[in-house]
Symmetry: D2
Subunit: 218 residues, 4 copies
């Protein structure tokens, strides 16, 4: 039962500019490789992704191919740099576009991301990681993903302008690497047991039950 | 394999004042009962809980008995009213005190909440639920809990002062009840499969691996 | 001494699609008109605004003309719809691009937005306004703007999918209109007294003083 | 026209335990002294402050004397340590209790904090400052305070456990001291011009105007 993880690199910078977030992702990919988990990383700034909240915003929109990759992997890691103490605008676009997933439901009312596992990686020269992580975990949980214990890792430096992940040697920062190992190992375990034991919930049936109590409660 | 869920009611009001949050919890408890999950709800404002960030802040502090209850249940639901567009100060105290859990580790370095499942319920007369949920999910994931898909429910009314959950008939609000059923069913499934398949991660070993790459990366 | 206010409409939708945020802005513009304040509204989705964190991201980038408009007005209102319980990605792009302002300083080290006044308007069918406002106020304060008391207004409906501002009759929602009047009147007063009494701070001198205490503190 | 500033130290620790936040406040007080601004700092953990959202929660509640101090000063600085990537629970209690201010209005409908100026100081060993600042600025603006440009300062270190403000030499961190000077100078200027030119808005009248457009808009 081979597992796979997709990283969405939410840097603002297009290739070939150096991406600190990609360097951080590189460390995580090696850790996944230790567990025989196949990985892929997509640098979203290199795609033409429309703003919007559906799964297809027209001809030039490349979100459909990103979404297809999300569907084909068992795990999703949103990896974002910090700008203005928060996730990047690219990461916010991802959150907005993923709302389109709710339109595609199977006969249980579950959408294609159900039973997948999510994680978050944030890097910045300073403050903002935890705010970004919190917002992204909220989105992931509502958009189909389960979140393991220790589902994230981040690197930030001291207050103020300063070296970013690569220059600061973030790949040698023990705390960041510990969190990253925890995230990788726990995501993989959760993906494995969810693949073997998918959520049985029939959401259509639960909606009927909810209607019943909404109508009869006093 | 009987499962159990603990609710921490984070209202600011002591008994016997009416708690909207307790009414909301009541609906969730009935849903858990459908799945044979035993539930208990603790109204924290009725306890003397010291501010601090350890598991025991002195003689008068009743957090130790709250923490003991957390340990004895498989699932934890943080239920908070909204004040100032955010979780209540009581809910923030819970988050701060739970940091003490990191001091108690087993031979794998896992703390007592590892392999438990978390959820969030937020009620208010208006805006603030999603901000509160996001912060709490972040805390839960770092403090040992796993988060299922659709791990939360909330009730809020229109902008401005207005009726709270009970007066507004929140127990008849379909959207809130649908989310709540999803939360209850998915938390229970996740708790079940984690009980059968606990996280194998040896955190001490992962720390060693992290040290190794932190020392040797260039 | 004529004053002027610029609105940046951060809807995700391009013209001619109906924008709830634009309808909300329309109410504010009428209020400003009562005070003889000239207003302009720019719908950013109709511009080609590059992601990035400088004031000019290349030939096709239309941010420079938006920035020019910001400079030419005394007040700035960021008006954003709610998506995912937070400001829109367009509003996040604005925040990121405004960081470029720090590169342009006068002989006191003040940047072109210094002595301008900021406000926030948020609309959505449900929850998320206060989180969005908080993040935007933080950005505005760091990026040169002063914030009056009651510097914002918002419209949100009950939890769950539901009518947005126009369909819900947000323009008749008393709480929203009260906040909006407060915002408009207080922004105008603050802009007026700041125009007459600009911040005297010489930021270069303050940096020297900061260096001195940073070097000599023990 | 003598001005004064009150600091509310929101540390979780009671005296005589060392408070990093108090050390940080000490630096700000010296800067205010350069401008002949009188300062006072209250360490809230040493008071018995009830949770609630009114201005008086019963006999043992010491919030009334804190509130009295707020009224007697021209400026208010909320100074909080970071816990769980957010402001402390003590700082959240302050925000909740300040809602009581709305009950006390003068003949213009303005409450006692109107025309006062607010600022924020956050210290922590790592990440969380900007999230805390954003939430507090939102509260301050709604609760009567005006916010100058550069209305805050913070100190945070690298990701993970590490030295807090005192041990880390935060008082020698140039970026933090620069922000602090800006905050102190700009708060003082804004307080001065607001004292000379208070907000003229008659909030009762604005409510009538809001009612009128709420009734007649179509």
């Amino acid at each position: 039962m081979a597992l796979s993880a997709l990283f969405l690199n939410c840097t603002l910078k297009k290739s070939p500019e150096t991406s600190n977030t990609e360097a951080f992702i590189g460390v995580a990919r090696k850790m996944f490789a230790e567990l025989q988990v196949a990985t892929k990383s997509l640098r979203l700034a290199d795609y033409n992704i429309a703003m919007g909240n559906t799964s297809n915003e027209g001809d030039a929109d490349q979100w459909p191919e990103i979404l297809e990759q999300i569907k084909q992997h068992d795990m999703l890691v949103i990896a974002s740099p910090i700008w203005r103490g928060d996730r990047s605008s690219v990461a916010k676009v991802v959150a907005e576009r993923l709302d389109g997933i709710w339109e595609e439901t199977d006969d249980k009312g579950q959408y294609p991301t159900y039973n997948k596992v999510g994680g978050v990686m944030i890097d910045g020269n300073e403050d903002g990681a935890k705010k970004a992580i919190a917002s992204i975990l909220f989105d992931l949980s509502e958009q189909g993903f389960s979140i393991p214990v220790n589902a994230f890792s981040y690197y930030v430096g001291k207050a103020g302008p300063g070296p970013a992940y690569i220059e600061a040697g973030g790949n040698r920062h023990l705390f960041t690497n510990k969190m990253l190992y925890n995230m990788v190992y726990n995501m993989t375990h959760l993906a494995q047991i969810l693949q073997q034991n998918p959520y049985p919930a029939d959401l259509n049936e639960l909606t009927q039950k909810a209607k019943k109590i909404s109508d009869t409660s006093d």
